[in-house]
Amino acid sequence: MNDQMNPSVDAPVVIRPYGDTTGDGMVQVSFTLPLAHDKRAEGAALQLANKMGISPALVVHAKAMGPEFTFFIVYGTVHHLVEVDKVVVFERDYELLTPKDANAAVREQLGRPLVTVGACIGSDAHTVGIDAILNIKGFAGEKGLEYYGEFEVHNLGAQVSVPELVNQAIAFHADAVLVSQVVTQKDAHLANVRELTAAFREAYPHGRRPLIVVGGPRFDPTMAAELGVDRIFGKGTTPGEVASYLVHAMVNQQRKASDV
């Protein structure tokens, strides 16, 4: 089921950036080049802007940062067309439920509480995000999963090692494991998630592992399959979305062994 975010039929399909006039294609760019600040460096900045499809490009600011680097701000017209009809949107494929409806679904169809185990893994100690989803306090005016009577929530906190998380998931008979990753320098979050899925693959019999849901502000939700998780949530996720997804995945949809 697609949600309401499809473009209306009469919206233009090919658009360009807008500075102050329709179709002017204006953009702003900034970057640093490892060059001393001189005319050649400004030329290099223009070359890069041109390669990015900006022409004419105007270096409006260039500042030496020590003898080996120069910072540039460039304005100009980009010639690429944005093809709105070709935009791939990761559509929500489940219904948004109120806490009441989510609880009812779990009660009626699962017949027992839905067990979730949450953590920040690896060296990541940013708990605010996972707390926002799990703790009763919640996020953006929505209560967290602890508020849902039919959800059993175990929030293990920060810097939980993957083996420990696996043990706890087994101990609590987790239906779903929720993992947060905020530090992304050198793609630490991707490496950690790969380690996570490998460990769960090893620890559980084929097709029996809990749902694995990861989240954090720099994740790309379309990468779930690639990372071997069931679902990825990005920045601004609300607890209701997560609860609704869990209900959808656990209750409404029979999980196929071949999926996991």
Partner: protein
């Protein structure tokens, strides 16, 4: 009224007295003259409009023809209403005149009386329309929420009225209280007002009656939508100042850029022409309930904002004097000043505060217009955004009334949609975060800020003294303001200056000089 700078009351009184002394002779000159644009404004009040195939307005064709045949020393009204045939309208007369089919004459005796009466009746209709627009504004303002001060003033400048309108509406939705449609470069030197809706302009949109009307209608819609009256402003300054003022009154613009000396200094318009035009245009604005904005900020784009700080004060005092003389009430006198000190100057922010406070304390009832940094904006948009934040803060700390919102791309492009949006967020952060900080800001009497404020006032008095002595026209010729030398017998539009003869008749002036409802 506060006195945070501890200004000596005597100094304040003396500064005003000197401004009056310097301004009085110029008022006398302004009374003794008219200009081709004043005469055109009279006919516009009487309803003339439209243009010939080349785009020359009929009002220009008509006035030029009258000037050529009988001169304008007695005003355009007598020959025109004398020449009007039974129930003929002004446009038809202009067309006949342009075709060389009208002989103009200065009527005398009963014919003169009839022409005077008819002209007065015709012009009254225009003034009535202006009055009714004023009442309409008052009604709207009363029925809608009053925006808190400072009013947020944003510019649009696409060159195309059809792009301007949605951008202006968007700006209003995002918090603008005043929309200024920037005028196409060079329009101030056109000796006519272009006609119709326009879609081509350079770094601004032509000011035309139709554009005024379209934008005002659009903003009326948006005002209703937002429950907040959005003011519209444009430029009176230039060779057509009296006509611009008239059109603004007729189309219910709310504010107009109208400085007593801007045209002289920055557009090399003849000084006499400017003083005559500004007086008439201000009488119209007074009548129309329009707030004027003066242009002291411009000095600081060429002169040094520290060295020349007192010239701003002097100009404000003169602008105030001329404004009062033309019938404007304090609440209509939007004196200008600007945040233009080089940001690398030590204590630059404190100096800005001193200057801004000086204006605030000298003119407690004037809706001061606070202009953002422009000269020292660079392509570094981040630094620009920060500087604009400090400009906003200075505005809050010193209680400015109209805040022209600074754009981070000032040195790069005419503002983009996103620049305006970001700029508004900047204002909103500062306004909200430092809402009451003004109450905790008390420059110490002997501190940098207060000392500087008193010093600038003293310098202003010194300069006014000199001007009162040598005469304002000579001072202008000498490069006192904005470093420009503008002798009284030079400059653009000199040919349109008219020395009134004893028979001069101008129904609009007669009606306007009467008691004004404030």
């Amino acid at each position: 009224m506060t006195n945070l700078l501890h200004l000596p009351a005597d100094d304040v009184t003396r500064a005003r007295a000197l401004a009056a002394e310097a301004g009085a002779p110029v008022v006398a000159i302004a009374r003794a003259h008219s200009t081709s644009s004043v005469e055109r404004a009279v006919l516009r009040l009487a309803g003339i409009c439209g243009a010939d195939v080349d785009g020359t307005p009929w009002v220009n064709r008509l006035v030029d023809e009258v000037a050529a045949q009988v001169g304008l020393e007695s005003g355009v009204a007598l020959p025109v209403w004398n020449a009007l045939e039974q129930s003929e309208d002004l446009v038809t007369l202009a067309q006949r005149a342009a075709a060389g089919r009208v002989d103009f004459a200065l009527p005398t005796g009963p014919a003169r009386e009839v022409a005077m009466a008819n002209a007065t009746r015709a012009v009254s209709l225009g003034l009535e329309r202006i009055d009714s627009q004023r009442r309409h504004r008052e009604l709207l303002v009363a029925s809608l929420a009053t925006p808190k001060r400072p009013w947020i003033y944003l510019i649009v400048a696409t060159g195309n009225i059809n792009e301007d309108i949605p951008q202006a509406q968007a700006a209003a939705r995002e918090g603008a209280d005043v929309i200024a449609v920037i005028r196409s470069t060079g329009q101030s030197l056109l000796d006519y007002v272009p006609e119709g809706a326009t879609t081509e302009g350079y770094a601004g949109t032509y000011a035309t009656q139709e554009n005024f009307k379209l934008m005002r209608a659009a903003l009326d819609e948006t005002s209703a939508e937002l429950g907040r009256y959005i003011r519209l402003t444009n430029y009176a300054s230039g060779l057509c100042m009296p006509e611009m003022a008239t059109l603004a009154g007729l189309e219910r613009l709310d504010m107009m850029l109208n400085d007593s000396m801007y045209g002289i200094l920055f557009r090399d318009i003849n000084p006499i022409r400017t003083f005559v035009d500004q007086r008439f245009s201000r009488q119209i604005h007074a009548r129309a309930g329009i707030i004027i904005n003066t242009g002291e900020d411009n000095y600081l784009t060429t002169a040094d904002p520290i060295e020349a700080a007192h010239t701003v004060t002097v100009s404000q005092l003169l602008n105030e004097f001329f404004a009062h003389e033309a019938g404007l009430a304090d609440w209509q006198i939007g004196l200008g000043h600007a945040f233009e000190i080089n940001p690398d100057t030590p204590n630059s922010f404190q100096l800005e505060l001193a200057h801004a406070l000086l204006a605030r304390e000298l003119f407690p009832d004037a809706p001061l217009k606070w202009m953002p940094p422009t000269k020292h904006m660079t392509g570094d948009i981040f630094r620009g955004y920060l500087l604009d934040g400090f400009f906003n803060l200075a505005g809050m700390l010193t209680g400015q009334d109209i805040l022209l919102v600074g754009m981070m791309t000032e040195a790069v492009v005419t503002p983009w949609l996103s620049d305006r949006d970001l700029a508004l967020q900047n204002v909103q952060y500062v306004r909200n975060a430092a809402a009451g900080l003004r109450d905790d800001f008390h420059p110490s009497r002997t501190g940098l800020i207060a000392v500087r404020g008193r010093h600038v006032l003293a310098e202003a008095i010194g300069l006014l003294d000199r001007i009162a002595d040598t005469g304002l026209l000579n001072a202008i010729a000498d490069g006192t303001f904005g470093l420009m030398h503008r002798p009284a017998n030079k400059g653009k539009g000199l040919a349109g200056v008219i020395t009134k003869d004893p028979y001069y008749f101008n129904p609009a002036s007669l009606l306007l000089e009467g008691p004004v409802s404030a």
